[in-house]
Point group: C2
Chain length 333, copies 2
Amino acid sequence: MKDVAAHVGTSIKSVSRVLNGEDGVSAATAERILQAMAELGFRRNDLARGLRQSDRTSTIGLALPQAGTRFHDSLVHGIDEIARQQGSFVLTASSGTAARERETLTALCSRRVDGLIVVPAGEDHGFLRPEQQAGVPVVFVDRPPHGIAADAVLTDHAEGARAGTAHLLRQGHRRIGVVGDDERIFSVAERIGGHRAALRTEQVAYAEELTRLGARCAEEAMHACLDLLGSGQPPTALFTLNNQCTIGAVRALRRLGLTRRVAMVGFDDFETADLIDPPVTVISHDVEEIGRTAARLMFERMAGHSPAPGRTTLPTKLIARGSGEIPVVDESS
Amino acid sequence: MKDVAAHVGTSIKSVSRVLNGEDGVSAATAERILQAMAELGFRRNDLARGLRQSDRTSTIGLALPQAGTRFHDSLVHGIDEIARQQGSFVLTASSGTAARERETLTALCSRRVDGLIVVPAGEDHGFLRPEQQAGVPVVFVDRPPHGIAADAVLTDHAEGARAGTAHLLRQGHRRIGVVGDDERIFSVAERIGGHRAALRTEQVAYAEELTRLGARCAEEAMHACLDLLGSGQPPTALFTLNNQCTIGAVRALRRLGLTRRVAMVGFDDFETADLIDPPVTVISHDVEEIGRTAARLMFERMAGHSPAPGRTTLPTKLIARGSGEIPVVDESS
DNA sequence: CGCGACTACGTCAACGTTGACGTATACCCG
DNA sequence: CGGGTATACGTCAACGTTGACGTAGTCGCG
């Protein structure tokens, strides 16, 4: 800016005024300043601009355990949509493991983001309280916060899993295999809870040996399913706890030629679920809407709304496509 | 920092020293400073830190035409991987249309990113030259730059499309339908070019009426395919120019009961391609690797390497799964 | 013509941090 | 004991920008 001012032979303040469309600059001077800016390839430094603490940086922080999973992508899309409407940029950071999370989040805060959306990896987020008190709204997604009072946007995992399981029970299934990721993940635990609740309602015992957890990808889920289906008393139906597991399960059923004999309901919808044979019945939830909701909550707080922090729980929807409507085939009889 | 210093009764500089792990501070003072920082919930302002022009902001800018598409997600994943290794954050911005792109990119530059990765939407990027001269490396992805000399990381679209088309020709197909997005998109044009090159090699005429472009999503692609397959002289094979089109094509073939009669090769792999009946033959390219490559190029330039800007073209791979190996069924004979 | 109001500027400080450089005290060595 | 030097600080300016406030010149009006 100094260079531009020198080039035109005016003061730095006039350049600032032109840049911000303030008046108090004659048309002729403004013209010359604009031309000098173009010539010199001037670009305002928004970091310096956001230095005064009152000012906004027009940047919101988004922390994800890892970039590039289907869930996170849809989430990012939803958040991005709202952020763009609000003229804000999204500063993304992969928090990775719980240990790195704190470091990542404080790095985001050090960049003076106007708000923070967190998909939690760690256990305690009390360390974010100073930011919150400094007026930076924090919204948690997919898992409630611990150690801090903040908004959370969640999926009704338990109800979805209950509905999915009830759907299988309604077809007469009593031996339902469960395949999912690590139970320490909040959503996984919730889903298992819902599954068990459905079993209880129908007074069906929960069989530990039909549950295979810790499958972190489709490959691991496939092996878990092969194992499950190859056991002495295989399940007549499968309930998979996320779309990676669902895809793994389909691969396993394919291999064993059981696609039309073992029923399956999967949590999370996926784009080609209707193209698989049989089409996959899923518990779908609108992940983009979760992102939009979280972003909206955040911007509302930034705009001054400050109700007590609360939870927003979004519903799930069972989409029956075929795989979940396969009736029981009792091999033993 | 001033508050912390006042709280401890020391100078602001000592706080700075502790923060940066410099020596020249006694253990006792350091201890008291650390404690005060914890008490006051102090967080360093990295914006102010990056104000001195020589300093890096540890932030790289990534501009995408839109967030949340499969291509971009994988790309982000790859870029994020490298950025994390380098301790940098990724500031993402959706550039949307060409008109908004300039605005978006300058906003990123105004935030003083250390480097810029651009998936171009607009036609001319000459306006980025000042940044480049200021030492901010710019890397283009998926489309070469115009109006500026910069690195580009591309997929060998033409060769991939050539190989895919040749594969269908080898099965005897002579009437190959093409379904894709708008031809003004670089990758689409390149793919069509490769397709036509393959036809020329085998001296097969390119039939304009078998080409349906402008399909921006699976839905539109499906309708294009239904139209194409319902025409007087339908194609015996389909070549789809991206995964959305491939999915749309599969839906169309399903509806018409032609999945086993019309061959299909699709550009872009997708997760469940092997689960569809018949499994989908695709031209696959490693999008994450594109992201990693672009990020690596950028960080290398940031580290001082400055070879002449060039293009890196990554290869494609034909994955034969079944749909592309269906031989010609000549309905007319 | 004197006064107020307006226009078109300019100056200065502050935002939070760090590099460059200054200084007071203690300590060691010849 | 003088001089060097190491330690543990402190002061100041600068980064780029803008809010607050000052000022010189012009114009209009009574």
